[in-house]
Assembly symmetry: C2
Homo-oligomer: 341 residues x 2
DNA sequence: GGTTCCTCGTGAAACGGTTCATAATGTAGC
DNA sequence: GCTACATTATGAACCGTTTCACGAGGAACC
């Protein structure tokens, strides 16, 4: 009969006592079983079973110093873009038997901090962060203290911190250029706050391209900051715009979820896409091509992004920092171009 | 100038030395600052800053015993259903200043085990698991050892383990009933392996409903196990079916991602939906309504699912186990019914 | 039979915090 | 001036592992 200890979990000492050996031997059974005589080992294993002993990870780690876990902090766990990136990370990590923990900062610097500290205090090998702010001083500090840091989906402004990103300025340019090519001369950009670098960069790209086309960005571009970077945010933004009597002809959305909300709203309002309003999204998530109005979008190599970030983190804390920059591509579909098949 | 210690992180003893106080005092500054004289406190804080000291979470926890973190293990982090549930969990957890770590088992019992052990060894308050197998013996063991366990999206077969689920048998019934109502007499069910309870239950529901309608499930139902529970799995399954010369009239997909793959394939093959083939999905993810053929789906209360699970876990390890069962609802759209607006 | 090696097992010293009984100091009251 | 009592600070014990120098007991060899 398993005698259920009321509260305290069995420790290695309890096991040693039960098996009639020393704690060192139990530890050896756990970590280098080949060094202990089969008979002894079996006795210890029986005791472990009997007491349903589970290693205390804290103690183990306190002594050992490190664990094979890495943490990732993304802006929004409900955004397929980030989970696709996470998949890429996981697959790479699996090869080295590392383990991934994911947390969502929800664009909130305070939450980001909290998770960052949690990860650091628990001695993860490294963290991948999609920073919620432009300021990465706190990440530098973590890096200095010896925890690996890789910026995800965002170029690093500091040479000592690795980053894996996609050229967001270029993405903004691609979207704007496409809309200009389609004959639009005014663009509404449903963007996130500029504290998020990706948003600022995409904005910069749009401005650049408009200027290059001889348009004055001040009048040719209307930027609206969405309340949240998802379908609800997109819906609220476009609804607000329509209710104020404005009717844009071209809407560029900072991600496909926002675009989804826009398309949904336009459909219920019986506004034709792309005839009345052209819509361009960002990320090219899996469902973009299958929407009632297939969504034109800027594609990013999510998988490679994650895998490369994992690569950098696994290459060790002493490897030179690298700054990887992927290029986005434009995928034209029916939401922005009547001629797209 | 910050003198960079080559390797070892500063410990509380280093701080104490630098500030000219005892370790106990440093600990007090950290945990009960009101008990230490302002002057002393400032000296200690300066030393902390100077040495860029970070608490060692393992040591802290080793002594304290517990942390305010809970872990969640889902089947597929790239599936919007699970991330929506995670959102629900997070929001509830936030209220109590708990922290959520998410891991993806990828339907793999071994990965599930690995993460489970990781969480348990690190002393999380509790874990929420969408089990990858029908066997929950290992979860019972964890529960016995004092870590909270809540089954997510799956009823518990054991009274001592809480669960929050949606009635999957009912979901299968709803889908089957709807297709029967639409005049179909044969259903192809693209399902996951029956080792995943949800899949088995939905199958049971379909069989039940077919039998209730006087049909012989053996001939009226063709079940195909998809290679993976996502769009690629759906695409491969339906493609295999078509290539073998079969042309189903009604396809029920175990989730919306699979359905997405099916719709995509049918479209490229120029097979009309719902005229030639009716398609029903499961989960009613955000984009289901916006697809080129709006997808009929079984809706589950994702948010409530997560929030309730968090509730149960936060109610403490000694609270009586509860078994919450939500009811799914059918949302009819154009993919299964020509009359749906 | 003595020396040298090997194989197993031991026990105590870390690891870096928290906690708590105790000491040191100052203040008040009589 | 003495006792009583706060207020701060101290330092050692403890949490549960891992590691490592060391000892005991054989086997092998000359």
């Amino acid at each position: 009969m398993t005698q259920q200890a009321a509260h305290r979990r069995a420790s290695i000492a309890d096991v040693a006592r039960a098996a009639g050996v020393s704690v060192g031997t139990v530890s050896n059974v756990l970590n280098r079983p080949e060094r202990v005589l089969p008979g002894t080992r079996e006795r210890v294993e029986a005791a472990i079973e009997e007491l349903s002993f589970v290693r205390n990870g804290s103690a183990r780690q306190l002594r050992a110093g490190t664990i094979t876990t890495i943490g990732a902090i993304v802006l929004d766990i409900a955004n397929p873009f980030f989970t696709d990136v996470a998949r890429g990370i996981e697959e790479r990590l699996d090869r080295d038997d590392f383990t991934l923990m994911v947390a969502s900062s929800d664009d909130d610097p305070e939450r980001e901090q909290r998770y960052l500290r949690l990860f650091e205090e628990h001695g993860v090998q490294g963290v991948m962060v999609v920073p919620a702010t432009d300021d990465i001083e706190h990440l530098l500090a973590i890096r200095r203290r010896g925890t690996g840091v890789v910026l995800l989906d965002r170029p690093s402004s500091d040479p000592s911190i690795s980053s894996v990103a996609v050229d967001d300025v270029r993405g903004g340019e691609l979207a704007a250029r496409h809309l200009l090519d389609e004959g639009h001369t005014r663009i509404v950009f449903l963007n996130g706050p500029h504290t998020i670098r990706q948003c600022a960069d995409r904005h910069e790209g749009v401005v650049k391209e408009l200027a290059a086309a001889g348009l004055d960005p001040a009048s040719a571009l209307q930027e609206i900051t969405v309340s949240s970077l998802n379908a609800e945010g997109g819906e609220a933004a476009i609804r607000g715009l329509l209710e104020s009597g404005e009717r844009p002809t071209a809407v560029f959305c900072v991600n496909d979820l926002v675009a989804l909300g826009v398309l949904r709203t336009l459909r219920t309002e019986n506004i034709a896409v792309p005839t009345d309003v052209a819509v361009v999204g960002y990320d090219d998530v899996a469902f973009a091509a299958e929407l009632s109005t297939p969504l034109t979008s800027i594609r990013q190599p999510t998988h490679e992004l994650g895998a490369r970030a994992a690569d950098l983190l696994l290459s060790g804390p002493d490897a030179a920092a690298e700054h990887v920059m992927f290029q986005p591509t434009l995928v034209v579909r029916g939401s922005s171009s009547a001629s797209a098949r």
